[in-house]
Homo-oligomer: 262 residues x 3
């Protein structure tokens, strides 16, 4: 029996930001079931820790990921079960979505689940060498990590079908055009730029940021009336927070606010 090359999910906290780095370079960062479990653990910690306000996900080496390490998922796939669903936060955002903002950095080959992970995050920075392909129908498979949903939501029906049905490879500029990524930067700069964006978000009041994400998700999932119905509650919650008082004071005193998430 061949030993499986393990993947390393490295986690580090800096100034309220949880940095998650994924490393299985020998296998082009192809995912094992264990990597999903560890990534879910990290995202669940981010979701539940009051001191963690934003997450950054990055990938070691030249490539984001070649996708699933397919032989390790065959049985669960054929049985219809998912090897990646439990009660923890999932990186695809299909079952339990992280309530904190997630910024992802991608580069090189970013295939299948690489795309679906980034579209389950909130903001994506792509290196200019990034290449995307949702290639499943070339292998006889449908898509299972949310591309069927996110492509349509981001790019509209026609552009979604243009890429999903052809399973073509497209580049970072096209991904920007489609709204799949928000910035394209020279390769090598993608992780530091993602960290900058995360720091920018972490400088805002976290209760407000989480209320904005929650109410926007309410719209995405349940439509306008449901999102409108949430407004009085988030108005009251944030307007009565210590951070709102700090926001007002800092404005009057012409200084940067220091928020505490309270």
């Amino acid at each position: 029996m061949t030993e499986i090359v393990p993947g390393i999910i490295d986690v580090e906290t800096r100034h309220h930001v949880l940095h998650i780095n994924i490393d299985r370079q020998k296998k082009m960062n192809a995912f094992t079931p264990e990597m999903f479990t560890e990534l879910g653990d990290a995202l669940t910690r981010l979701d539940e820790s009051a001191d963690l306000w934003v997450g950054v996900i990055s990938f070691a080496g030249k490539h984001t990921t070649a996708g699933l390490d397919l032989p390790l998922f065959g049985d669960s796939m054929r049985s219809g079960a998912s090897a990646t669903v439990d009660d923890k936060v999932d990186v695809f955002g299909l079952h339990r979505r992280c309530r904190k903002p997630l910024v992802m950095a991608v580069q090189g080959v970013c295939y299948t689940i690489g795309i679906e992970m980034m579209l389950g995050c909130d903001i994506v920075v792509a290196a200019d060498d990034a290449r995307f392909c949702q290639l499943e129908p070339k292998r006889g498979l449908a898509v299972f990590g949310g591309a069927n949903i996110r492509y349509v939501e981001r790019a509209g029906w026609g552009n979604a079908m243009y890429h999903l049905l052809r399973a073509d490879e497209f580049n970072a500029e096209r991904a920007l055009q489609l709204g799949f990524v928000q910035e394209v930067v020279p390769v090598g700069a993608q992780v530091s730029r993602a960290a900058e964006l995360a720091a920018e978000i972490a400088a805002n009041a976290p209760i407000a940021i989480q209320a904005i994400k929650a109410s926007a998700l309410e719209y995405l999932h349940n439509g306008e009336a449901a999102a409108v119905a949430m407004i009085p509650e988030i108005r009251q919650r944030t307007a009565n927070s210590a951070d709102a008082a700090e926001g007002l004071s800092s404005f009057i005193e012409r200084r940067d606010p220091v928020f505490q998430g309270k």
Copy 2:
């Protein structure tokens, strides 16, 4: 007790178009509760008057609006109540949306509720000096006028989060790219261009225009099946109108139609 600088909501009718101009330049057009009430009155009149077919909203001076005159809204905000909701048409289109088309012109600083008002309208013309910022989370607050909904609907999840979570300032070109505004014109031309677009719409059959807006809103609010179910009714209503007969006659006689809204 300091006297509050009043805001003026100027209303004028020209060829079935209601022109609404908002003026509180001393306070960068920051909104008072009274201004919402008067604006709601004007929009309700537009909504209910058979002779008014299109509305144009513009702002006096160099800037659209700095946002709410915050001290005047603190109490209602902290109690969770809205100072701006009653049974009249609301400019954010969150509670009772105007059934007639609304064109808005914006310039200079267009912050917070300025953005949310324009996204509650149908078409927006921006001066090339327009600057947009949904800055609430920098002050400890969530967003309450629909940005959580409209950003996602217009620009897709990633681009919506890119701006909502960072609360950055962006310019007119970027707003065009996001679908937040439909035209960018040299500063000074934004109001006349908005009036031209309104006149173009007012030259079309108003019953048809209102049916198109109503059925598109049905899609936006309740999805495709609901919007499809409306088609037979709007087909019958418009096909049997005097304006449809005039449409056909004018086409045969090779002249411009003169619609009456009947």
Copy 3:
């Protein structure tokens, strides 16, 4: 009684692709009720035949279509009935949508139902001389073939209203920008390019392709939770297919797969 110029719906099968060509050039391809019936027959055949995997719709001559041959539809329109709805697949995709991918080629004048047909398809190739206009409100009519839905879904509320309410004519570049078409090619090349795209799709596993379209439609119609709920079933169905085995074998053997739709 004047005889009605008949329209010809030409149908040809090549390598699992059904090519449908519409020809009523004497009347600028204006549609008669019979043409809708024949087109519905062709699309229903595509939908139901296991050996047909993709459809291409094209239009003979310089123009796509001037729209409905209006005098032939007046009675049904005034009664509120639709002359084009039966239990067959409809080209607008409003009642029974084709489960196989549809690629449309357009050129020249592409008015009213021409736009609505292409937006009811999945991928559109436009000649660079294509001109689009949803002109109904200029004739006193609302829109009945789905423009009220598709414009909003593809382009967002503001851009949708910009064109629907003005009923202006716009060109191929603008249609590309709006996501209404996916490629613009020199006039004359649109049909061959559409055929190329169809062949590219037909080279992928048809069960997977149909599962992707079905699950994306589930999202479009019923939202994210409904589309997520479909994933286990499509995972199991495609992972257990003969084509998935072929996908894996061909990958290992470094050759192109040959799918059978099984």
